[in-house]
Protein backbone atom coordinates (compact mmCIF):
# COMPACT_ATOMS: atom_id res chain seq x y z
CA UNK A 1 0.00 0.00 0.00
CA UNK A 2 2.51 2.58 -1.17
CA UNK A 3 1.82 6.25 -0.73
CA UNK A 4 1.87 8.05 -4.06
CA UNK A 5 4.30 10.68 -2.91
CA UNK A 6 7.02 8.24 -2.00
CA UNK A 7 8.70 7.17 -5.16
CA UNK A 8 10.63 3.94 -4.88
CA UNK A 9 13.11 2.74 -7.40
CA UNK A 10 13.94 4.43 -10.67
CA UNK A 11 11.65 7.04 -12.15
CA UNK A 12 9.19 5.60 -14.66
CA UNK A 13 10.34 6.20 -18.18
CA UNK A 14 8.58 9.05 -19.97
CA UNK A 15 6.21 8.12 -22.74
CA UNK A 16 8.08 7.72 -26.01
CA UNK A 17 7.45 10.59 -28.41
CA UNK A 18 4.70 10.21 -30.95
CA UNK A 19 5.99 8.92 -34.25
CA UNK A 20 4.32 8.10 -37.55
CA UNK A 21 2.29 4.94 -38.08
CA UNK A 22 3.79 2.69 -35.46
CA UNK A 23 2.21 -0.04 -33.39
CA UNK A 24 0.42 1.29 -30.32
CA UNK A 25 -0.69 -2.18 -29.31
CA UNK A 26 0.91 -5.49 -30.10
CA UNK A 27 -0.31 -8.92 -29.05
CA UNK A 28 2.19 -11.65 -29.78
CA UNK A 29 1.05 -15.27 -29.45
CA UNK A 30 -1.25 -14.33 -26.59
CA UNK A 31 -3.13 -17.05 -24.74
CA UNK A 32 -5.30 -16.73 -21.67
CA UNK A 33 -6.45 -19.71 -19.67
CA UNK A 34 -8.55 -18.94 -16.60
CA UNK A 35 -7.91 -20.84 -13.39
CA UNK A 36 -11.05 -22.89 -14.04
CA UNK A 37 -9.34 -24.29 -17.14
CA UNK A 38 -11.34 -22.32 -19.67
CA UNK A 39 -9.15 -21.10 -22.53
CA UNK A 40 -10.49 -17.63 -23.31
CA UNK A 41 -7.83 -16.70 -25.85
CA UNK A 42 -5.48 -18.87 -27.89
CA UNK A 43 -2.46 -17.80 -29.88
CA UNK A 44 -3.72 -14.32 -30.67
CA UNK A 45 -1.51 -12.05 -32.80
CA UNK A 46 -2.78 -8.53 -33.28
CA UNK A 47 -1.20 -5.18 -34.09
CA UNK A 48 -3.02 -1.88 -33.74
CA UNK A 49 -1.37 1.15 -35.27
CA UNK A 50 -1.49 4.60 -33.80
CA UNK A 51 -4.63 6.38 -34.97
CA UNK A 52 -6.54 3.32 -36.20
CA UNK A 53 -10.25 2.65 -35.71
CA UNK A 54 -10.81 -1.07 -35.21
CA UNK A 55 -13.93 -3.12 -34.54
CA UNK A 56 -13.64 -6.24 -32.44
CA UNK A 57 -16.50 -8.61 -33.24
CA UNK A 58 -17.54 -12.11 -32.37
CA UNK A 59 -20.20 -14.04 -30.49
CA UNK A 60 -20.53 -13.83 -26.72
CA UNK A 61 -17.79 -15.77 -25.02
CA UNK A 62 -15.44 -15.44 -27.98
CA UNK A 63 -12.88 -13.65 -25.82
CA UNK A 64 -13.54 -9.98 -26.65
CA UNK A 65 -13.82 -8.85 -23.05
CA UNK A 66 -10.80 -10.90 -22.04
CA UNK A 67 -8.78 -9.21 -24.75
CA UNK A 68 -9.83 -5.77 -23.52
CA UNK A 69 -9.03 -6.76 -19.93
CA UNK A 70 -5.53 -7.80 -20.97
CA UNK A 71 -4.94 -4.37 -22.46
CA UNK A 72 -5.71 -2.54 -19.20
CA UNK A 73 -3.79 -5.21 -17.32
CA UNK A 74 -6.85 -6.27 -15.40
CA UNK A 75 -5.71 -9.76 -16.36
CA UNK A 76 -2.30 -11.05 -17.37
CA UNK A 77 -1.82 -13.37 -20.36
CA UNK A 78 -0.89 -16.95 -19.54
CA UNK A 79 1.27 -17.08 -22.63
CA UNK A 80 2.60 -14.62 -25.17
CA UNK A 81 3.13 -10.90 -24.71
CA UNK A 82 0.93 -7.82 -24.65
CA UNK A 83 2.82 -4.65 -25.59
CA UNK A 84 1.48 -1.14 -25.28
CA UNK A 85 3.74 1.44 -26.84
CA UNK A 86 6.43 -1.21 -26.93
CA UNK A 87 6.11 -1.82 -23.20
CA UNK A 88 5.31 -5.36 -22.01
CA UNK A 89 2.35 -4.94 -19.65
CA UNK A 90 3.35 -8.07 -17.72
CA UNK A 91 6.54 -6.26 -16.74
CA UNK A 92 4.75 -3.18 -15.47
CA UNK A 93 5.06 -3.36 -11.69
CA UNK A 94 1.89 -3.13 -9.60
CA UNK A 95 2.35 0.55 -8.83
CA UNK A 96 2.85 1.31 -12.54
CA UNK A 97 -0.56 -0.07 -13.49
CA UNK A 98 -2.52 3.12 -12.67
CA UNK A 99 -0.17 5.11 -14.90
CA UNK A 100 -0.75 2.61 -17.71
CA UNK A 101 -4.52 2.87 -17.32
CA UNK A 102 -4.47 6.65 -17.55
CA UNK A 103 -3.19 6.24 -21.10
CA UNK A 104 -6.24 4.15 -22.01
CA UNK A 105 -9.79 5.44 -21.79
CA UNK A 106 -12.46 2.79 -21.25
CA UNK A 107 -16.15 2.94 -22.08
CA UNK A 108 -18.70 0.31 -21.08
CA UNK A 109 -22.16 -0.80 -22.08
CA UNK A 110 -23.52 0.07 -18.62
CA UNK A 111 -21.80 3.52 -18.53
CA UNK A 112 -20.50 3.07 -14.94
CA UNK A 113 -21.41 6.60 -13.84
CA UNK A 114 -21.86 7.71 -10.23
CA UNK A 115 -25.56 8.52 -9.74
CA UNK A 116 -24.99 11.13 -7.00
CA UNK A 117 -22.55 13.21 -9.03
CA UNK A 118 -23.35 15.63 -11.80
CA UNK A 119 -22.08 15.15 -15.34
CA UNK A 120 -19.24 17.58 -14.63
CA UNK A 121 -18.33 15.86 -11.35
CA UNK A 122 -18.44 12.39 -12.90
CA UNK A 123 -15.85 13.48 -15.43
CA UNK A 124 -13.86 15.39 -12.81
CA UNK A 125 -13.80 12.28 -10.62
CA UNK A 126 -11.31 10.61 -12.97
CA UNK A 127 -8.93 13.51 -12.41
CA UNK A 128 -9.53 13.93 -8.67
CA UNK A 129 -8.69 10.31 -7.90
CA UNK A 130 -5.48 10.49 -9.87
CA UNK A 131 -4.18 13.48 -7.96
CA UNK A 132 -4.66 16.15 -10.62
CA UNK A 133 -4.19 19.69 -9.27
CA UNK A 134 -7.55 21.29 -8.54
CA UNK A 135 -7.05 24.27 -10.83
CA UNK A 136 -6.29 21.94 -13.76
CA UNK A 137 -9.48 19.90 -13.30
CA UNK A 138 -12.22 22.31 -14.40
CA UNK A 139 -10.58 23.32 -17.73
CA UNK A 140 -9.87 19.68 -18.62
CA UNK A 141 -13.44 18.67 -17.79
CA UNK A 142 -14.86 21.54 -19.83
CA UNK A 143 -12.71 20.51 -22.79
CA UNK A 144 -13.84 16.87 -22.61
CA UNK A 145 -17.49 17.88 -22.25
CA UNK A 146 -17.29 20.17 -25.27
CA UNK A 147 -15.82 17.33 -27.36
CA UNK A 148 -18.83 15.13 -26.55
CA UNK A 149 -21.29 18.05 -26.78
CA UNK A 150 -22.50 18.02 -23.19
CA UNK A 151 -21.41 21.49 -22.07
CA UNK A 152 -25.04 22.46 -21.48
CA UNK A 153 -25.76 19.42 -19.31
CA UNK A 154 -22.71 19.76 -17.06
CA UNK A 155 -24.77 20.49 -13.92
CA UNK A 156 -27.31 17.70 -14.45
CA UNK A 157 -27.43 14.44 -12.55
CA UNK A 158 -27.24 11.17 -14.51
CA UNK A 159 -30.86 10.36 -13.59
CA UNK A 160 -32.04 13.29 -15.71
CA UNK A 161 -30.09 12.24 -18.83
CA UNK A 162 -31.01 10.10 -21.83
CA UNK A 163 -29.08 6.92 -22.63
CA UNK A 164 -27.06 8.64 -25.31
CA UNK A 165 -26.14 11.48 -22.96
CA UNK A 166 -25.11 8.98 -20.31
CA UNK A 167 -22.77 7.26 -22.75
CA UNK A 168 -21.39 10.58 -23.92
CA UNK A 169 -20.65 11.45 -20.28
CA UNK A 170 -18.77 8.16 -19.96
CA UNK A 171 -16.84 8.95 -23.15
CA UNK A 172 -15.96 12.40 -21.80
CA UNK A 173 -14.63 10.72 -18.68
CA UNK A 174 -12.58 8.34 -20.80
CA UNK A 175 -11.18 11.30 -22.72
CA UNK A 176 -10.32 13.54 -19.81
CA UNK A 177 -6.88 12.02 -19.26
CA UNK A 178 -6.18 12.65 -22.97
CA UNK A 179 -5.49 8.98 -23.66
CA UNK A 180 -3.84 7.54 -26.75
CA UNK A 181 -6.38 4.73 -26.93
CA UNK A 182 -10.11 4.54 -26.28
CA UNK A 183 -11.42 1.06 -25.62
CA UNK A 184 -15.18 0.68 -25.85
CA UNK A 185 -16.86 -2.55 -24.75
CA UNK A 186 -20.30 -2.73 -26.41
CA UNK A 187 -20.85 1.02 -26.01
CA UNK A 188 -24.11 0.91 -27.97
CA UNK A 189 -25.42 -2.27 -26.35
CA UNK A 190 -28.02 -0.42 -24.29
CA UNK A 191 -28.96 2.20 -26.87
CA UNK A 192 -31.51 2.34 -29.64
CA UNK A 193 -30.22 2.43 -33.26
CA UNK A 194 -30.46 6.18 -33.75
CA UNK A 195 -28.62 6.99 -30.53
CA UNK A 196 -26.11 4.23 -31.33
CA UNK A 197 -25.26 6.08 -34.52
CA UNK A 198 -24.68 9.25 -32.56
CA UNK A 199 -22.21 7.48 -30.30
CA UNK A 200 -20.41 5.91 -33.26
CA UNK A 201 -20.17 9.33 -34.93
CA UNK A 202 -18.68 10.68 -31.73
CA UNK A 203 -16.10 7.89 -31.54
CA UNK A 204 -15.19 8.52 -35.19
CA UNK A 205 -14.71 12.19 -34.47
CA UNK A 206 -12.47 11.37 -31.48
CA UNK A 207 -10.53 9.03 -33.78
CA UNK A 208 -10.06 11.90 -36.20
CA UNK A 209 -8.49 13.85 -33.35
CA UNK A 210 -5.75 11.21 -33.38
CA UNK A 211 -6.97 8.84 -30.68
CA UNK A 212 -6.84 5.14 -31.51
CA UNK A 213 -10.23 3.47 -30.99
CA UNK A 214 -10.86 -0.20 -30.33
CA UNK A 215 -14.55 -1.01 -30.13
CA UNK A 216 -16.00 -4.38 -29.25
CA UNK A 217 -19.52 -4.73 -30.60
CA UNK A 218 -22.34 -6.95 -31.73
CA UNK A 219 -23.84 -4.21 -33.82
CA UNK A 220 -23.59 -5.69 -37.33
CA UNK A 221 -25.27 -2.72 -39.04
CA UNK A 222 -22.70 -0.29 -37.76
CA UNK A 223 -19.73 -2.50 -38.58
CA UNK A 224 -20.96 -3.30 -42.05
CA UNK A 225 -21.82 0.29 -42.89
CA UNK A 226 -18.55 1.82 -41.77
CA UNK A 227 -16.19 -0.52 -43.63
CA UNK A 228 -13.38 -0.13 -41.15
CA UNK A 229 -10.89 -2.72 -40.02
CA UNK A 230 -12.72 -5.64 -38.37
CA UNK A 231 -11.07 -8.21 -36.15
CA UNK A 232 -13.29 -11.23 -35.58
CA UNK A 233 -12.82 -13.56 -32.63
CA UNK A 234 -14.27 -17.02 -32.34
CA UNK A 235 -13.58 -19.39 -29.50
CA UNK A 236 -10.58 -17.38 -28.43
CA UNK A 237 -8.92 -17.22 -31.84
CA UNK A 238 -8.77 -14.48 -34.45
CA UNK A 239 -10.64 -15.91 -37.42
CA UNK A 240 -10.59 -12.81 -39.57
CA UNK A 241 -8.79 -9.46 -39.65
CA UNK A 242 -9.63 -7.28 -42.63
CA UNK A 243 -11.43 -4.19 -43.73
CA UNK A 244 -15.07 -5.01 -44.29
CA UNK A 245 -18.39 -5.99 -42.74
CA UNK A 246 -19.56 -7.98 -39.77
CA UNK A 247 -19.93 -11.22 -41.68
CA UNK A 248 -17.46 -12.97 -43.86
CA UNK A 249 -17.85 -11.69 -47.39
CA UNK A 250 -17.04 -14.69 -49.55
Amino acid sequence: MALPFIRRGPRPEPDPPLAGPRPLIELVGVGKVYPNGKAALQDVDLVLGEGEFVFLVGPSGAGKSTLLRLLIRDELPTSGRVLIDGQDVARVPGRGVPRLRRRIGVVFQDFKLLPTRTVHDNVAFALEVTGTPRRAIAPAVDRALSVVGLTGQARQLPSTLSGGELQRTAIARALVHEPRLIMADEPTGNLDPLISWEIIQLLLRINELGVTVLMATHNADVVTALRRRVVALEEGRIVRDEVGGYHRED
Binding site: M1, P4, V97, V106, K112, T130, G131
Partner: protein, 307 residues
Protein backbone atom coordinates in the same frame (compact mmCIF):
# COMPACT_ATOMS: atom_id res chain seq x y z
CA UNK B 1 10.46 14.10 -5.48
CA UNK B 2 9.49 17.77 -5.34
CA UNK B 3 6.48 17.08 -7.52
CA UNK B 4 5.65 14.12 -5.29
CA UNK B 5 5.75 16.33 -2.20
CA UNK B 6 3.53 18.94 -3.80
CA UNK B 7 1.05 16.15 -4.51
CA UNK B 8 0.87 15.06 -0.89
CA UNK B 9 -1.48 17.76 0.49
CA UNK B 10 -3.84 17.04 -2.40
CA UNK B 11 -3.77 13.34 -1.60
CA UNK B 12 -4.31 14.06 2.08
CA UNK B 13 -7.17 16.47 1.44
CA UNK B 14 -8.82 13.98 -0.89
CA UNK B 15 -8.42 11.06 1.52
CA UNK B 16 -9.57 12.98 4.59
CA UNK B 17 -12.54 14.40 2.70
CA UNK B 18 -13.58 10.96 1.55
CA UNK B 19 -13.08 9.53 5.04
CA UNK B 20 -15.34 12.22 6.48
CA UNK B 21 -18.02 11.56 3.83
CA UNK B 22 -17.71 7.85 4.45
CA UNK B 23 -18.14 8.29 8.19
CA UNK B 24 -21.43 10.15 7.75
CA UNK B 25 -22.67 8.14 4.78
CA UNK B 26 -23.20 5.20 7.11
CA UNK B 27 -23.73 7.29 10.21
CA UNK B 28 -25.54 4.67 12.29
CA UNK B 29 -22.81 2.09 11.90
CA UNK B 30 -20.05 4.67 12.41
CA UNK B 31 -21.70 5.95 15.58
CA UNK B 32 -22.18 2.40 16.88
CA UNK B 33 -18.49 1.74 16.29
CA UNK B 34 -17.61 5.02 17.99
CA UNK B 35 -19.85 4.21 20.97
CA UNK B 36 -18.23 0.82 21.58
CA UNK B 37 -14.88 2.48 21.14
CA UNK B 38 -15.84 5.01 23.87
CA UNK B 39 -16.93 2.21 26.20
CA UNK B 40 -13.68 0.37 25.69
CA UNK B 41 -11.50 3.44 26.15
CA UNK B 42 -13.30 4.54 29.33
CA UNK B 43 -12.82 1.03 30.71
CA UNK B 44 -9.18 1.14 29.74
CA UNK B 45 -8.63 4.56 31.33
CA UNK B 46 -10.44 3.54 34.53
CA UNK B 47 -8.41 0.37 34.73
CA UNK B 48 -5.22 2.32 34.19
CA UNK B 49 -6.07 4.87 36.89
CA UNK B 50 -6.91 2.22 39.48
CA UNK B 51 -3.75 0.35 38.62
CA UNK B 52 -1.67 3.49 38.94
CA UNK B 53 -3.27 4.35 42.29
CA UNK B 54 -2.97 0.90 43.81
CA UNK B 55 0.48 0.39 42.37
CA UNK B 56 1.78 3.67 43.73
CA UNK B 57 0.20 2.94 47.10
CA UNK B 58 1.71 -0.49 47.36
CA UNK B 59 5.18 0.47 46.29
CA UNK B 60 5.10 3.44 48.62
CA UNK B 61 4.22 1.29 51.62
CA UNK B 62 6.61 -1.41 50.52
CA UNK B 63 9.51 0.92 50.08
CA UNK B 64 8.89 2.75 53.26
CA UNK B 65 9.17 -0.11 55.63
CA UNK B 66 8.93 -3.84 55.61
CA UNK B 67 8.60 -4.95 59.23
CA UNK B 68 7.52 -2.69 62.07
CA UNK B 69 7.71 -3.55 65.76
CA UNK B 70 5.76 -1.32 68.12
CA UNK B 71 7.57 -1.18 71.44
CA UNK B 72 6.00 -1.50 74.84
CA UNK B 73 4.90 1.83 76.20
CA UNK B 74 5.27 1.75 79.97
CA UNK B 75 4.90 4.98 81.88
CA UNK B 76 8.19 5.81 83.61
CA UNK B 77 10.14 3.04 81.89
CA UNK B 78 10.72 4.89 78.62
CA UNK B 79 14.48 4.99 79.01
CA UNK B 80 14.72 1.30 79.85
CA UNK B 81 12.68 0.47 76.74
CA UNK B 82 14.97 2.66 74.65
CA UNK B 83 18.06 0.89 75.94
CA UNK B 84 16.48 -2.53 75.30
CA UNK B 85 15.48 -1.33 71.83
CA UNK B 86 19.04 -0.27 71.06
CA UNK B 87 20.23 -3.69 72.08
CA UNK B 88 17.61 -5.30 69.89
CA UNK B 89 18.66 -3.08 67.03
CA UNK B 90 22.25 -4.31 67.32
CA UNK B 91 21.04 -7.91 67.27
CA UNK B 92 18.91 -7.26 64.23
CA UNK B 93 21.76 -5.63 62.38
CA UNK B 94 23.77 -8.81 62.84
CA UNK B 95 21.14 -10.67 60.77
CA UNK B 96 22.34 -10.76 57.12
CA UNK B 97 18.74 -10.46 55.95
CA UNK B 98 18.47 -6.96 57.43
CA UNK B 99 19.47 -3.93 55.44
CA UNK B 100 18.68 -1.20 57.95
CA UNK B 101 16.93 -0.60 61.24
CA UNK B 102 15.46 2.71 62.21
CA UNK B 103 14.47 3.51 65.77
CA UNK B 104 11.43 5.77 65.91
CA UNK B 105 11.24 7.41 69.31
CA UNK B 106 7.93 8.39 70.93
CA UNK B 107 8.72 12.01 70.10
CA UNK B 108 9.41 11.23 66.46
CA UNK B 109 6.21 9.21 66.24
CA UNK B 110 4.25 12.15 67.64
CA UNK B 111 5.98 14.58 65.30
CA UNK B 112 5.08 12.38 62.31
CA UNK B 113 1.48 12.11 63.48
CA UNK B 114 1.22 15.89 63.86
CA UNK B 115 2.75 16.43 60.45
CA UNK B 116 0.16 14.07 58.94
CA UNK B 117 -2.66 15.92 60.63
CA UNK B 118 -1.34 19.22 59.37
CA UNK B 119 -1.10 17.82 55.87
CA UNK B 120 -4.77 16.85 55.99
CA UNK B 121 -5.75 20.16 57.57
CA UNK B 122 -7.15 18.35 60.57
CA UNK B 123 -7.17 19.86 64.01
CA UNK B 124 -4.25 18.87 66.16
CA UNK B 125 -5.70 17.89 69.52
CA UNK B 126 -2.60 16.08 70.79
CA UNK B 127 -1.65 19.13 72.85
CA UNK B 128 -4.59 18.36 75.16
CA UNK B 129 -3.25 14.95 76.06
CA UNK B 130 -1.39 14.69 79.33
CA UNK B 131 1.06 12.25 77.79
CA UNK B 132 2.32 11.19 74.37
CA UNK B 133 0.17 8.10 73.61
CA UNK B 134 2.20 6.87 70.69
CA UNK B 135 4.61 4.00 71.18
CA UNK B 136 8.20 4.05 70.02
CA UNK B 137 8.94 1.56 67.26
CA UNK B 138 11.61 -0.14 65.24
CA UNK B 139 11.30 -0.04 61.43
CA UNK B 140 13.25 -2.75 59.71
CA UNK B 141 14.15 -2.80 56.03
CA UNK B 142 15.21 -6.06 54.48
CA UNK B 143 17.82 -7.00 51.91
CA UNK B 144 15.35 -9.30 50.26
CA UNK B 145 11.78 -8.32 51.09
CA UNK B 146 10.67 -11.95 50.86
CA UNK B 147 12.95 -13.11 53.68
CA UNK B 148 11.25 -11.56 56.68
CA UNK B 149 10.66 -14.70 58.79
CA UNK B 150 13.92 -14.57 60.80
CA UNK B 151 13.43 -10.87 61.57
CA UNK B 152 9.87 -11.40 62.68
CA UNK B 153 11.04 -14.30 64.85
CA UNK B 154 13.76 -12.19 66.51
CA UNK B 155 11.30 -9.38 67.22
CA UNK B 156 8.64 -11.73 68.57
CA UNK B 157 11.28 -13.34 70.81
CA UNK B 158 12.03 -10.01 72.45
CA UNK B 159 8.55 -9.73 73.92
CA UNK B 160 9.82 -7.88 76.97
CA UNK B 161 10.24 -4.79 74.73
CA UNK B 162 8.12 -5.56 71.69
CA UNK B 163 4.39 -5.00 72.03
CA UNK B 164 3.41 -6.20 68.54
CA UNK B 165 4.98 -7.00 65.17
CA UNK B 166 3.35 -5.61 62.08
CA UNK B 167 4.40 -7.46 58.97
CA UNK B 168 3.86 -4.78 56.41
CA UNK B 169 5.33 -7.05 53.79
CA UNK B 170 2.80 -9.80 54.43
CA UNK B 171 -0.01 -7.27 54.30
CA UNK B 172 1.33 -5.94 51.03
CA UNK B 173 1.65 -9.44 49.67
CA UNK B 174 -1.97 -10.17 50.39
CA UNK B 175 -2.96 -6.94 48.72
CA UNK B 176 -0.71 -7.75 45.79
CA UNK B 177 -2.46 -11.08 45.34
CA UNK B 178 -5.84 -9.35 45.26
CA UNK B 179 -4.68 -6.66 42.86
CA UNK B 180 -2.98 -9.33 40.74
CA UNK B 181 -6.28 -11.12 40.32
CA UNK B 182 -7.98 -7.81 39.54
CA UNK B 183 -5.28 -6.98 37.04
CA UNK B 184 -5.59 -10.31 35.22
CA UNK B 185 -9.37 -10.08 35.22
CA UNK B 186 -9.23 -6.50 33.98
CA UNK B 187 -6.77 -7.36 31.26
CA UNK B 188 -8.93 -10.24 30.01
CA UNK B 189 -12.03 -8.04 30.05
CA UNK B 190 -10.16 -5.31 28.18
CA UNK B 191 -8.90 -7.80 25.64
CA UNK B 192 -12.42 -9.10 25.02
CA UNK B 193 -13.85 -5.60 24.67
CA UNK B 194 -10.88 -4.70 22.48
CA UNK B 195 -11.61 -7.59 20.13
CA UNK B 196 -15.26 -6.61 19.99
CA UNK B 197 -14.28 -3.06 19.10
CA UNK B 198 -11.90 -4.32 16.43
CA UNK B 199 -14.58 -6.59 14.97
CA UNK B 200 -17.07 -3.73 14.83
CA UNK B 201 -14.55 -1.41 13.17
CA UNK B 202 -13.64 -4.09 10.61
CA UNK B 203 -17.33 -4.51 9.85
CA UNK B 204 -17.99 -0.77 9.65
CA UNK B 205 -15.18 -0.31 7.15
CA UNK B 206 -16.32 -3.37 5.22
CA UNK B 207 -19.73 -1.74 4.83
CA UNK B 208 -18.02 1.46 3.73
CA UNK B 209 -16.06 -0.50 1.12
CA UNK B 210 -19.22 -2.21 -0.12
CA UNK B 211 -21.06 1.13 -0.26
CA UNK B 212 -18.29 2.48 -2.46
CA UNK B 213 -17.76 -0.61 -4.61
CA UNK B 214 -18.98 1.13 -7.78
CA UNK B 215 -16.68 4.08 -7.13
CA UNK B 216 -13.75 1.78 -6.43
CA UNK B 217 -14.28 -0.02 -9.72
CA UNK B 218 -14.35 3.28 -11.60
CA UNK B 219 -11.30 4.52 -9.71
CA UNK B 220 -9.36 1.46 -10.80
CA UNK B 221 -10.47 1.82 -14.41
CA UNK B 222 -9.47 5.46 -14.66
CA UNK B 223 -6.06 4.74 -13.18
CA UNK B 224 -6.32 5.82 -9.53
CA UNK B 225 -3.34 4.59 -7.57
CA UNK B 226 -3.85 2.14 -4.73
CA UNK B 227 -3.18 4.81 -2.14
CA UNK B 228 -6.11 6.91 -3.38
CA UNK B 229 -8.35 3.86 -3.21
CA UNK B 230 -7.27 2.51 0.17
CA UNK B 231 -6.19 5.34 2.41
CA UNK B 232 -9.61 7.00 2.66
CA UNK B 233 -10.84 3.84 4.39
CA UNK B 234 -7.81 3.72 6.69
CA UNK B 235 -8.49 7.34 7.61
CA UNK B 236 -12.15 6.51 8.18
CA UNK B 237 -11.13 3.83 10.69
CA UNK B 238 -8.72 6.24 12.35
CA UNK B 239 -11.53 8.81 12.47
CA UNK B 240 -13.79 6.35 14.34
CA UNK B 241 -10.94 5.77 16.79
CA UNK B 242 -10.23 9.47 17.18
CA UNK B 243 -13.90 10.32 17.72
CA UNK B 244 -14.13 7.55 20.32
CA UNK B 245 -11.01 8.81 22.09
CA UNK B 246 -12.21 12.42 22.14
CA UNK B 247 -15.61 11.44 23.56
CA UNK B 248 -13.97 9.13 26.11
CA UNK B 249 -11.58 11.88 27.22
CA UNK B 250 -14.52 14.28 27.44
CA UNK B 251 -16.38 11.87 29.72
CA UNK B 252 -13.25 11.37 31.82
CA UNK B 253 -12.76 15.14 32.09
CA UNK B 254 -16.35 15.49 33.33
CA UNK B 255 -15.76 12.74 35.85
CA UNK B 256 -12.30 14.01 36.77
CA UNK B 257 -13.50 16.39 39.50
CA UNK B 258 -15.38 13.88 41.66
CA UNK B 259 -12.95 11.13 40.71
CA UNK B 260 -9.83 13.00 41.77
CA UNK B 261 -11.48 14.06 45.03
CA UNK B 262 -12.07 10.40 45.70
CA UNK B 263 -8.55 9.48 44.66
CA UNK B 264 -7.10 12.31 46.66
CA UNK B 265 -8.91 11.25 49.79
CA UNK B 266 -8.02 7.64 49.24
CA UNK B 267 -4.42 7.99 48.22
CA UNK B 268 -3.65 11.17 50.08
CA UNK B 269 -0.24 10.13 51.27
CA UNK B 270 0.84 8.70 47.95
CA UNK B 271 3.45 10.27 45.72
CA UNK B 272 0.97 10.16 42.87
CA UNK B 273 1.61 12.90 40.36
CA UNK B 274 -1.72 13.83 38.85
CA UNK B 275 -0.07 15.87 36.10
CA UNK B 276 1.84 13.01 34.55
CA UNK B 277 -1.09 10.65 35.15
CA UNK B 278 -3.44 12.91 33.16
CA UNK B 279 -0.89 13.12 30.38
CA UNK B 280 -0.36 9.34 30.37
CA UNK B 281 -4.08 8.61 30.27
CA UNK B 282 -4.63 11.12 27.45
CA UNK B 283 -1.86 9.57 25.38
CA UNK B 284 -3.05 6.05 26.20
CA UNK B 285 -6.66 6.75 25.21
CA UNK B 286 -5.77 8.61 22.01
CA UNK B 287 -3.17 6.06 20.91
CA UNK B 288 -5.40 3.08 21.66
CA UNK B 289 -8.42 4.62 19.95
CA UNK B 290 -6.65 5.73 16.79
CA UNK B 291 -4.53 2.56 16.77
CA UNK B 292 -7.52 0.21 17.04
CA UNK B 293 -9.47 2.16 14.43
CA UNK B 294 -6.57 2.12 12.01
CA UNK B 295 -5.83 -1.55 12.61
CA UNK B 296 -9.48 -2.51 12.07
CA UNK B 297 -9.66 -0.51 8.85
CA UNK B 298 -6.38 -1.98 7.66
CA UNK B 299 -7.62 -5.53 8.26
CA UNK B 300 -10.85 -4.69 6.45
CA UNK B 301 -9.14 -3.08 3.48
CA UNK B 302 -6.75 -6.00 3.18
CA UNK B 303 -9.53 -8.57 3.27
CA UNK B 304 -12.16 -6.81 1.19
CA UNK B 305 -10.13 -4.71 -1.22
CA UNK B 306 -7.69 -7.29 -2.53
CA UNK B 307 -6.64 -6.69 -6.09
Amino acid sequence: MIVALIGFPRFLAFSLGRAWQGFWRNALMSLAATATMVLMLVLLAGFWLVQAGVGAGLSYVEEKVEVVADLRDVRGAEDAVTVAAMELETRLMADPAVRSVHFVSKEEALARFRARLAERNQADLTGFLDRNPLPASLEVKLVDPRRFESVVETLRGADEVVEQVIEVKRLVEQLTTVTGVLRTGGAILLLLVGFTVLFIVVNTIRLAVVARSAEIEIMRLVGASDAFIRWPFIFEGALVGLAGAVVALGLLALAAGPLSDLMYGFFRVLPLELGTLTRDVTILVLATGVGLGTLGAWISVRSYLGR
